[in-house]
């Protein structure tokens, strides 16, 4: 079966996010004054073959732990959907 994992990686709360701050400042100068905070993260879409849903889920989690995020500063979440041809 084929699956699409949609992974979002963000900085943990309290970790300094210079990109987010800079983007917020830019939005302010563009007169989006109502913006209070911006957090910058990563989005990854992973297409993989797996026997079943729970196997796919397990593998996506392993990828996140080992490579896609750094547990010291980042956390992640994901959604999984089956790809039907």
């Amino acid at each position: 079966m084929k699956y699409r994992g949609k992974v979002i990686v963000t900085l943990k709360p309290g970790v300094f996010d210079p990109q987010g701050v800079t983007i917020r400042n830019a939005l302010h100068t563009l007169s989006f004054r109502e913006v209070e905070e911006v957090k910058a993260g990563k989005y990854l879409e992973i297409i993989l073959e797996s026997e079943n849903r729970s196997q796919a889920e397990k593998r996506i989690q392993e990828m996140c732990d080992q490579l896609l995020s750094n547990p010291v500063i980042e956390s992640y979440s994901y959604q999984l959907e089956e790809i039907k041809n």
């Binding site: 970790v15 300094f16 750094n70 010291v72």
Partner: protein, 733 residues
């Protein structure tokens, strides 16, 4: 505000019972939590040099070039300029979070240079990792290189040189030593002092958050073991650093800055106490004025925070607004947070209350320890190698190909190409083989920089290894025509509380000191990183040397590559029957054994003088020093380092009847390979004789092959194109 169980808190923060007693005596009362925190960071190994201070006094501070010693970064004076440089470690943070660890390492050392009032113009990175087969080591290695590239490129200070080695001993504890070099008109240098009652203490840069709290005393001085603490990692913001560089230099130009200090390890604690202590005054700080990024921060958190991209200034009263506006123009924070007092004390207020009040001098006078040390037993075991133990290879071509493509000897191009090594348009001799040379705009002279240390030698003999690191660095510089002028060092060792590790440390410092003294090169700055251990033991002892040289006429710089055909190849220096500690033994025979090559300081010095003269008198067409991989690797590098590789024909017969593998791959020091035009050979030989340097003609350049024979016997005949591909592809990155 007192703590009932002050001793427990102190212990938790890494202070010893006797240290706590001393704090009680200094204050004449029970310390507040903020005070305990402040003492704990100032008296940590990382900031206070408890175990190393006594030995660092051995290092020579004077030399041929007049040294300059500031607070953070030392340097030398040449012409009317100060050349300031300093090396720092960022090992533990990088092991935990490679990308940010390396990035903030670069950021930190740049601020050290900036704090002296100099404009940072170049960085170097000396990197050591576990083998790349090891998944975690590979991850750390790639993350670190990415971090240096990310931060260094963005901040606009070129990373021009460095080192990269892989040894199993660095598994679980990598070494990230970064160096920065800056220049300033000599009279523009600024000190890290607060002076003049009523002058203002001004905070500039990024806001303060909870980053790296405890990172300094807890993270940096704790071995990586079973119970791992989750550190709060610092995140680098190179854009802010870039703006901080420009704003700080602009502010210094106003002439209204009395003193300046970067906020690195131990942040506000370190900067306030050291500025007060070295200015012979006191400071009073109001923490409610510190720009904060997070809510609910405790006073001790603010004092210990290691948020990056911050500096502390002492500004002449009446000019604070002008200075603050400069920083705000660059999009940074700028706030008056306190003033200079003549109390001699660091007084910290928070919400109207005094939360700390300590004599500044006492904070900056941590205890000194010299625990027992003992020669480790492994030394006898690993220093028994004799030539009979290995049989010479049958196929030298195969051996050479394996060596040129090995992870420690292959080209570093895949690494330094990820670094913007040309930013600032000063890099005259680009990285590739050996030394990198920077011009100084508007001057005839230039600056050469290199970093060196062979950790395996140091493991086999800390003293000889340290001497060799100095010798190799100096040889590197002189090969391109530069005169060694100053050293900065970064001493990476295991736990000083273990006698065998401490012995290694003291031996290395003595070796380092002896070599620098002999060559007349002052040690102007440096850094010590202890507790580099993983569950399997300590790292190889690694006293990394950063050396800076001056080349009088930068246009005469000599590069390593063979520039044309029909040049005569000359080997300078003596080849001894030494294979111990060599990469050849490691790679081909799988033995990490010694003794390592012995250092002949006299011979090294003669060679250096000769190389400098050869460059100045424009006699040689190329020069490269011999180091890891010996003569064979030097030949390959000079052949293939240029865009178009060039062949050579070499005969080893004249080098005596030693074994061929010794002649090719032995790593005896004090040697260099130069190429010279036929008509200049005589002058070269005459100068070599005058300098007492052995000198042998071993071949000439030309053709498309690297051919090495010994008398009638052909050892190697390989296409230089193939060698180039193997060498450049060795890292597989």
């Amino acid at each position: 505000m007192e703590v009932a169980n002050g001793l427990n808190v102190a212990r938790e923060l890494g202070l010893k019972e006797e240290e706590y007693e001393r704090i009680l005596a200094i204050l004449g009362r029970v310390p507040t939590p903020t005070e305990i925190a402040m003492f704990s960071v100032e008296w940590s190994e990382h900031c206070g040099y408890l175990h190393s201070r006594r030995w660092l006094e051995l290092l020579p501070r004077e030399g041929e070039f007049s040294p300059l010693r500031g607070e953070d970064a030392g340097g030398i004076v040449y012409d009317d300029l100060a050349v300031v440089f300093k090396m720092e470690s960022h090992n533990h943070p990088s092991q935990v979070e490679p990308r940010q660890g390396a990035a903030t390492g670069i950021g930190g050392v740049i601020r050290d240079i900036l704090g002296s009032g100099a404009r940072p113009i170049a960085c170097l990175d000396s990197l050591h990792f576990g083998p790349r087969e090891d998944e975690r080591s590979l991850y750390v290695f790639r993350g670190v290189v990415e971090g240096v590239a990310f931060y260094g490129n963005c901040v606009g200070v070129p990373t021009v040189a460095g080192e990269l080695y892989f040894y199993p001993a660095f598994r679980g504890n990598c070494l990230i030593n970064v160096m920065c070099l800056g220049i300033a008109p000599r009279e523009k240098l600024t000190q890290a002092k607060a002076q003049g009652e009523g002058n203002y203490i001004v905070y500039v840069g990024n806001k303060t958050g909870r980053d790296g709290i405890g990172g300094c005393s807890i993270l940096a001085s704790q071995e990586f073991g079973a119970e791992e603490r989750r550190p709060s990692v610092q995140i680098g913001d190179p854009l802010a650093e870039k703006c901080l560089i420009e704003a700080t230099l602009e502010a210094l130009d106003t002439g209204h800055i009395v003193g300046i200090k970067d906020m690195g390890a131990a942040g506000l604690t370190c900067s306030t106490s050291e500025m007060a202590a070295s200015g012979g005054s006191g400071v009073e700080i109001d923490l409610d004025l510190v720009p904060l990024r997070e809510e609910g921060m405790e006073p001790w958190e603010i004092m210990m925070s290691e948020s990056q991209e911050r500096m502390l200034l002492c500004v002449r009263r009446g000019y604070e607004e002008e200075i603050i506006q400069i920083f705000r123009k660059w999009g940074l924070e700028g706030e008056v947070i306190g003033e200079v007092k003549d109390t001699g004390r660091v007084t910290i207020k928070w919400r109207g209350e005094v939360v700390a009040d300590i004599p500044a001098l006492e904070l900056t006078r941590p205890p000194v320890y010299t625990p027992p040390r003992e020669r480790p037993l492994y030394l006898d075991e690993v220093n028994n190698f004799s030539l009979e133990d290995v049989s010479p290879p049958l196929n030298y071509e195969e051996v050479l190909l394996r060596m040129v493509s090995s992870e420690n000897l292959s080209s570093r191009r895949p690494i330094f190409e990820q670094y913007d090594h040309m930013a600032g348009i000063n890099t005259v001799l680009l990285p590739g083989s050996g030394t990198v040379v920077l011009r100084v705009k508007g001057k005839k002279w230039g600056i050469a920089v290199t970093s060196d240390c062979n950790p395996l030698y140091c493991y086999l003999s800390p003293r000889e290894g340290a001497k060799m690191a100095v010798a190799e660095a100096a040889r590197n510089l002189s090969a391109c025509g530069a005169r060694p002028a100053g050293v900065t060092d970064c001493l990476n060792f295991g736990s000083p509380e273990k006698p065998d590790r401490y012995w290694q440390f003291v031996e290395a410092v003595e070796g380092l000191s002896e070599a620098c003294r002999f060559f007349g090169i002052p040690v102007v700055s440096g850094n010590v990183s202890f507790y580099n251990e993983n569950p399997e033991g300590a790292i190889f002892p690694t006293p990394t040397i950063g050396m800076v040289g001056i080349i009088e006429e930068v246009e005469k710089v000599v590069s390593a590559g063979f520039g044309e055909d029909d040049l005569i190849l000359v080997l300078l220096g003596e080849t001894k029957e030494e294979l111990g500690g060599s990469e050849y033994l490691r790679i081909i025979h799988n033995r990490e054994e010694g003794p390592p090559p012995r250092v002949d300081l006299e011979g090294e010095k003669n060679l250096q003088e000769l190389l400098i003269t050869l460059a100045e008198e424009e006699i040689v067409s190329s020069a490269i020093d011999l180091s890891e991989g010996g003569l064979a690797l030097a030949l390959v590098e000079s052949s293939v380092t240029e865009e178009n590789p060039r062949g050579v024909i070499v005969d080893l017969e004249c080098l005596g009847d030693m074994r061929e593998d010794v002649l090719l791959f032995g790593e005896s020091g004090g040697r260099a390979l130069v190429s010279v035009k036929g008509e200049l050979l005589n002058s070269l030989q005459r100068l070599a004789q005058e300098q007492n340097v052995p000198c042998q003609v071993i071949g000439k350049t030309g053709g498309e092959k690297l051919v090495i024979k010994k008398g009638g016997k052909s050892l190697i005949s390989l296409s230089v194109e193939e060698l180039k591909n193997r060498w450049e592809g060795g890292l597989g990155e």
